[in-house]
Symmetry: C2
Subunit: 232 residues, 2 copies
DNA sequence: CCGTATCCGGGGGGATACTG
DNA sequence: CAGTATCCCCCCGGATACGG
């Protein structure tokens, strides 16, 4: 936030002084979601320039919201973790997200969603416990998108969660998911479902029938998926 | 928020697109607190220029958060009231305020607080039911401030709440409150109390002993006053 | 892999004055 | 009372390239 500040003793204004600058809330959301490394944060906030990301992280550190920790000496590697003050921002993030899910029109944004970000969000919330306890490879193919963006979801070790590949990892594919990005995004945000998209031919599943049949379940949804939209 | 938007389907980002622009959260807070008229809003957000206030109100109206209603024809008079979507922003405001009260350092802002804003906030939360049921006049005198800013709190009709005057209303004064602006602000935000400020000679009360003795009670505090500060 | 450095443009918004 | 109108500066932040 710029220098001629709000200058109000109201705690709402004081907090806004910190949280109101561009990208800050979105970044904190990604931190709350669990990303700690610089490049992981970048994946969660892909349209933010690294320069600005670095700047915001410094600000958050300065404000006692984030702690920057050295995790390895060579090569020098850091992680950014929320302090107690930062952790309590979860309540703020949740309140904002719940309101957004309920009241903000989604359609304009669905039009040009980001496949990389969607995969990144899906990966995080995967219910690996509901997937077969072996290596599982799911290949997402988004129509009308430059073929360049391959999207493989690779579950090797249930303990470690899934990996994301943008190039063919070479494994046999258990399930091909072919759909438009808009539908997949709508499913993840809870305003559409796998069965409905399949029945309306917006989603095509080819492969292992078990993995296919349970997709709505193992595909963890957005934390706000349960909230009904009210926007006119 | 500017045009190159976040472009994220995450509801936190979508909501931030609306709420993230400068002054918006602070303005919504004032709307939640009950102000509906343009000039009342100005008093609650004194450092915001009328041009920007007008612009933000239009944006909020466009986004379905505020409704602009004509209340009188001559002179043309409008009021701004929160829509259902706007009312539900109260949860967001509260979450932000609670976090701010708990974790944001207050001291820098206490230094140059705004007496007009403080009076405006105090007036709103006055516990008129705990004041004598007759006309009560309290004259606040802030030391080290240009004498120009007189601050009379006038309770005429308990039904209608109190009035604020910047010029001597001419009534007999029931209580003189003499203090530095910093102490009074600290009291209102709950990090100080009337008795303590009095005992430390930062607050001087002269006048009706009943009104004086019950000041800590009839002076309604900030909605966030109960939350303990944790900031280092 | 984890950032930093630099450039540069657009526009947000602060200040001030004014009007129906 | 309820806003408009105008000016103009500053700085945010987007883009790109580069270093440890």
């Amino acid at each position: 936030m710029s220098h001629p500040s709000y200058n109000q003793f109201c705690p709402v204004a004081m907090a806004s002084e910190i949280l109101g600058s561009r990208w800050t809330i979105v970044l904190v959301r990604e931190l709350c979601a669990g990303s700690t490394r610089f490049n992981d944060l970048r994946r969660g906030v892909p349209r933010m320039s690294p320069a600005l990301l670095s700047k915001r992280l410094k600000e958050l550190e300065h404000q006692g919201i984030v702690e920057r920790r050295l995790v390895r000496k060579i090569p020098e590697t850091f992680e950014y973790v929320l302090t107690p003050a930062g952790c309590e921002l979860r309540d703020v993030i949740m309140a904002i997200g719940e309101w957004g899910q309920k009241w903000v029109q989604t359609s304009p944004i669905l039009e040009n969603a980001d496949p990389g970000l969607l995969m990144w969000d899906m990966r995080r919330n995967l219910r690996v416990d509901l997937m077969p306890q072996r290596r599982v490879v799911v290949h997402f193919i988004y129509e009308n998108l430059p073929e360049a963006s391959g999207n493989w979801l690779v579950l090797t070790d249930p303990e470690k969660g899934a990996d994301l590949c943008s190039a063919d990892p070479g494994f046999d594919v258990d399930l091909f998911v072919r759909c438009d990005l808009k539908s997949m995004t709508a499913i993840w945000t809870g305003i559409d479902t796998v069965p409905r998209a399949v029945s309306e031919d917006r989603l095509l599943l080819v492969g292992d029938s078990d993995v296919s049949a349970s997709m709505q379940d193992w595909l963890g949804l957005s934390p706000f998926a349960g909230i009904e939209k009210q926007a006119s």
